[in-house]
Amino acid sequence: MGANMSAGVSDTDPPLQPRLGDIPESCIASVLMFLDPPEICKLARLNRAFRGASGADFIWELKLPTNYRYIMEKVFDEETMRKLGKKDVYARLCRPNPFDDGTKEIWLHKSTGGVCLAISSKALRITGIDDRRYWNHLSTEESRFHTVAYLQQIWWLQVDGEFEFQFPPGTYSLFFRLQLGRSSKRLGRRFCNHEHVHGWDIKPVKFELTTSDGQHAVSQCYLDNPGNWVQYHAGDFVVKSTNALVNIKFSLTQIDCTHTKGGLCVDSVFIRPTSVGK
């Protein structure tokens, strides 16, 4: 930075105008940082400088959830973890990633980086699951896990789940994905078999959710809408601190033994930030 003031600027030169396209990549990156990921990716198409800026690690470090290293350890192997830049980590995590022997999936909500999870029926504890008079496992393309638990008939319906995870701070909602009736595809058309569906209009089912730090949610609901998959909201829980392992227990029960119920498909449990719409 020389103190030489006479560097050729004379009275007759027009005042210096900044070249409009000359905003340095670092400034572009600082602008992109305030946009959401899909928007950043859209603007990468502008020109080379934008493409370069959109790949800046510091941007994606901010977009990734605070527990991304914890998630990476569950779904990526050593080699992958070492060679991925932050943008690629984000991209990979936006797709559903299986873990725990394929009984669970995790993905990020694209625009917010919110952590979403799905837990297969195979990872749930279902009373009487081994008794084929009551329950059977069905293969189906309508489940991301390709299998659902199908209830023919039972007095005592109890589906329990337990899940331990390090959630980024926030409020989360838990859902059971259920359907009354058993669907199948024939010749490209979807059919739903309702032969076993009964008992759901007599009494509601109970959803319950508890966490290791003492939160508790309970609700009742009549199952309905036969022939369609419905996500039933079981409850919400709040995670306050970063890096704390939270253990959640959740259940679906209908144990009124004055009536039987049946024809229910249990696919999975979903957990996602409450702010993320369905």
């Binding site: 930075m1 000359d22 946009l35």
Partner: protein
């Protein structure tokens, strides 16, 4: 050579603290305008700060800013002055082992912080209200050159708000840039970023 002092556009310059001489630093812009700026404000410019720290030069010689125009510098100075004023509204944080009496005073601090935040919000909204896209870009270049983090963050945030949820064409016009991709490169990019536009993965 035009050597008149620039008329200070800000009607409320910072009052010199009683007893201390208000030291000023002289800056000269690319278009030959001279600015005399209070030291406290000029030291907000990272570039100026390191210049005077390195050189131990007396503040009498005007420091040249060949990449900044007079109009841009004037706006930058206005911003930094106001920003300093707002920051001085918040008393310094009480230490960890404050006594009970000092902890109570902390509540007053929270009030002051809230008030300062509100002031800043209003000031920032006002500051860019009539600025064109060109003006904002010029300010970014100036803030970047002068190394003023707070101003740069604010400007980048504002630009992001202006181009958010608009088309690629709009952003192109805003920054005044032409695409420089070949069709092959364009296709490559679309593929590379396809993940961001895939259908939302629901049930």
């Amino acid at each position: 050579m035009a050597n008149g002092e620039n008329q200070n556009p800000n009607p409320n310059p910072i009052e010199a603290t009683p007893g201390a001489a208000a030291r000023t630093i002289t800056l000269k812009t690319a278009d030959g305008e001279i600015f005399e700026v209070e030291e406290a404000v000029a030291m907000e410019f990272g570039t100026v700060k390191s210049f005077f720290e390195d050189d131990a030069v007396s503040a009498t010689k005007p420091m040249p800013l060949p990449n900044v125009s007079g109009s841009a510098l004037s706006r930058v100075i206005t911003y930094c002055r106001r920003s300093l004023e707002i920051r001085s509204m918040i008393p310094p944080a009480t230490s960890e082992d404050a006594t009970a009496a000092e902890a109570v005073q902390g509540e007053g601090d929270l009030e002051a912080e809230k008030a300062a935040k509100q002031e800043r919000k209003e000031f920032e909204a006002e500051f860019l209200k009539d600025e064109s896209n060109e003006d904002v870009k010029e300010l970014i270049l100036a803030a970047n050159y002068l190394n003023i983090k707070e101003l740069l963050d604010f400007l980048c945030r504002s630009v992001a708000l202006r181009i958010q949820n608009k088309s690629v064409e709009y952003a192109r016009k805003f920054f005044g840039i032409e695409g420089d991709y070949t069709p092959e490169e364009e296709a490559q990019i679309r593929q590379e970023y396809a993940w961001a536009f895939e259908g939302v993965d629901e049930d």
